[in-house]
């Protein structure tokens, strides 16, 4: 996207874990950018490196065993990986904040909700306790918690799962962050509650203009929330595209297979509903071995000799649509 300055730019990020059993290359050379105000989805299965990527951005990788061994993460012109810890603290929860999957474990059970929200404000915004509390009430109202002033004095266990996730969102947005990282924000919630939270996130985004990195394994969520998508597999980015392009013309065989392997709601209504789901044979690769060639090749139905020998470079096939596959052009001719 020419002309626009990215808010966040990740370049060749490598985060490895040095375990007793060997080096796990959880993230191995990932690059992408987030534009101001956009929602970028990071999608992939467990172990693909999507969460490690986001934790690397906030420098929350437990060390040891983990370490960011290479790369640059530029946020508003500064490289986050070069900042001293003190400056990094001023960014966490302030300019970049995060929502995790399990709201119960991310809230402190012995502090009242109000205290937890106002804490970020007194710390980052140097607000007085009274101002911070006022702002906390406002935030709770914003995320749709009824009787916010009373709820402020309550503790996390007094809230339902959906309400806790609203509290997390209120806390994350209290300091008007420029970037919100949402790691599987609705995975622990029921579908009807998920619909409420997604609605809320959409409304708040329209109001505040916060850019979002949405980390998820759900293709439904991606289609619904994101403008652009990065597909990860085995610690690498295999495809990046605007959301409609990704769903209409997936170019990487992994993305194509993934889209065909999930059952669709309403599948029984069309007569040509397939009796079987498309399977991806095999399992997600272990990231301990050094990988020669394309990381998806062992499970790929279209892999050729070249795929097993050298890793395909990322190539831009159409505007903004990048794919790392030697056979992408050949596959483009095949029906989806």
């Amino acid at each position: 996207m020419a002309g626009l300055v990215p808010l966040l730019e990740i370049e060749d990020l490598r985060t490895h874990f040095f375990t007793r059993d060997g080096i796990v290359r959880a993230v191995d050379g990932v690059s992408f950018a987030v534009m101001p105000g956009e929602t970028l989805a990071l999608v992939g299965e467990s172990g693909c490196g999507k969460s490690v990527t986001s934790l690397s951005v906030l420098r929350l990788i437990a060390s040891p065993p983990g370490r960011i061994v290479d790369g640059r993460i530029r946020f508003l012109g500064q490289d986050l990986l070069q900042l001293p810890e003190r400056k990094m603290r001023a960014i966490r929860g302030n300019e970049i904040s995060m929502i995790f999957q399990e709201p119960m474990t991310s809230l402190n059970p012995v502090l009242s909700i109000g205290r937890q929200i106002s804490e970020t404000l007194t710390l980052h915004r140097a607000m007085s306790q009274r101002d911070a509390e006022q702002r906390a009430v406002e935030m709770l109202r914003l995320v749709g918690i009824p009787e916010p002033a009373q709820r402020m004095r309550q503790y996390p266990h007094e809230f339902s799962g959906g309400m806790r996730q609203r509290v997390m969102i209120a806390m994350a947005l209290a300091c008007d962050p420029k970037l919100l990282i949402a790691d599987e924000p609705t995975t622990a919630l029921d579908v009807t509650v998920q619909a409420q939270i997604l609605n809320l996130m959409r409304q708040l985004k329209a109001k505040t203009g916060t850019a979002i990195i949405l980390i998820t394994h759900s293709l439904g969520l991606v289609a619904e929330m994101a403008q652009r998508v990065v597909v990860m597999y085995g610690g690498r980015k295999v495809e990046e595209a605007p959301v409609t392009a990704l769903f209409q013309r997936p170019r990487h065989p992994y993305t194509r297979a993934l889209l065909r392997s999930v059952p669709r709601l309403g599948s029984s209504l069309t007569d040509r509903a397939p009796a079987r789901l498309a399977e991806i044979p095999g399992v997600v690769p272990s990231l301990k071995e050094t990988i020669e060639g394309c990381i998806f090749a062992p499970r790929c139905a279209h892999a050729l000799e070249r795929c097993r020998q050298s890793y395909p470079p990322l190539e831009e096939k159409t505007a903004g649509h990048w794919v790392a596959c030697w056979e992408a052009d050949r596959l483009a001719e095949l029906p989806a």
Partner: protein
């Protein structure tokens, strides 16, 4: 339905109420109405999907069918025979017909047992076979579920999540059951592996005429695998129908909202969504009348006072909603 084979499994007005106790003497202060009167029948070779959100009682229903917990009231019939009152020994004789696959394959497998012993255990317990015969049967079962023979000596931790679930399925198949209760069998698996296990379950059903009670929260998965679907809300079945009829034409407002809440992997398809307000109420003090009325966009006076009965709104399509009753009457 015109053809009425003897159901392999039938439950009638099944209930499970858990007491809530508090204080030193365990005074009973309330009741959790986990399952509050559900009825359905499962035909041979059929899959009945049981869906609903957490706390709706779907897993409790599964456990009662398996006799892992005793129902408070109601009847369970397995192959035409009533089993809910049976003593342990008598139930043991019938266990071979009724098996289970749980969500987390790792916690369902003994980590210190080798894979072949895990699969052989039901054979050793129920069938008097010699060692080599057992070995041969286990090898056969491994093949059926798509595991390799050389994996028989491995331990559970040496398998991936999907393979472990195959192992659990092999064990469930060992005694040639005709009913398997599957409680969230694929929700712990990665998307790409999920498809493998779903296809396996479908193949096994075709080859061995198995009937499944398929308990899950993922509506798209349930739609794919089921023949009929029952939707549960706070301990009751609110709608039960042929899957096509249910997904094309949901009759209960809860089913309607549930279906519209599922994100669909098509960017253009963000339709008008029915967003329900609030959370699922506590099953300790469920709302009066229709349990769904506080969240229902169409609720009227009668819904608050009188629980709606299940009615057949179209052939084979049952719903418990006063709204539909008004239309039909």
């Amino acid at each position: 339905m015109t053809r009425t084979p003897t159901p392999v499994l039938e439950v009638r007005d099944l209930k499970k109420h858990f007491p809530v106790r508090r204080g030193l003497f365990g005074r009973r202060v309330g009741t959790v109405y986990a399952v509050d009167g559900i009825s359905f029948a499962l035909n041979p070779g059929e899959t009945l999907g049981l869906v609903g959100e957490s706390g709706c009682g779907k897993s409790t229903a599964g456990k009662m069918i398996l006799k892992l917990i005793e129902p408070t009231a109601g009847e369970v019939y397995l192959n035409g025979e009533r089993i809910d009152g049976l003593a342990r020994g008598a139930m043991r004789q019938r266990r071979n017909r009724l098996q289970v696959v749980f969500q987390d394959p790792y916690s369902s497998l003994n980590p210190r047992q080798r894979a072949k012993d895990i699969v052989a255990e039901p054979l050793r317990n129920f069938e008097r076979l010699a060692g080599p015969e057992i070995e041969a049967r286990v090898a056969e079962l491994f093949e059926k579920v798509g595991l390799r023979r050389d994996q028989m000596v491995r331990f559970p931790h040496e398998f991936s999540g999907g393979q472990r679930q195959r192992l659990v399925i092999a064990r469930a198949l060992a005694l040639k059951p005709n009913v398997i209760v599957c409680d969230e069998p694929v929700s712990a698996l990665d998307v790409s592996v999920q498809a493998q296990v779903i296809n396996l379950l479908a193949d096994l059903q075709k080859n061995f005429g198995l009937a499944y009670v398929f308990i899950a929260h993922d509506l798209a998965v349930v739609e794919h695998i089921s023949h009929r679907v029952a939707v549960m809300y706070l301990g009751r079945i609110v709608e039960l129908a042929d899957k096509r009829s249910l997904f094309a034409n949901p009759q209960h407002p809860y089913t309607e909202a549930l279906l519209s809440a599922v994100p669909v992997p098509e960017p253009a398809a963000i339709s008008q969504r029915i967003v329900l307000q609030g959370d699922v109420p506590s099953p300790i003090s469920p709302p009066s009348g229709c349990h769904f009325h506080p969240r229902c966009p169409y609720a009227f006076a009668r819904c608050r006072s009188e629980p709606p009965a299940m009615r057949e709104v179209a052939p084979g399509h049952f719903a418990a909603c006063h709204l539909r009753a008004a239309n039909v009457a």
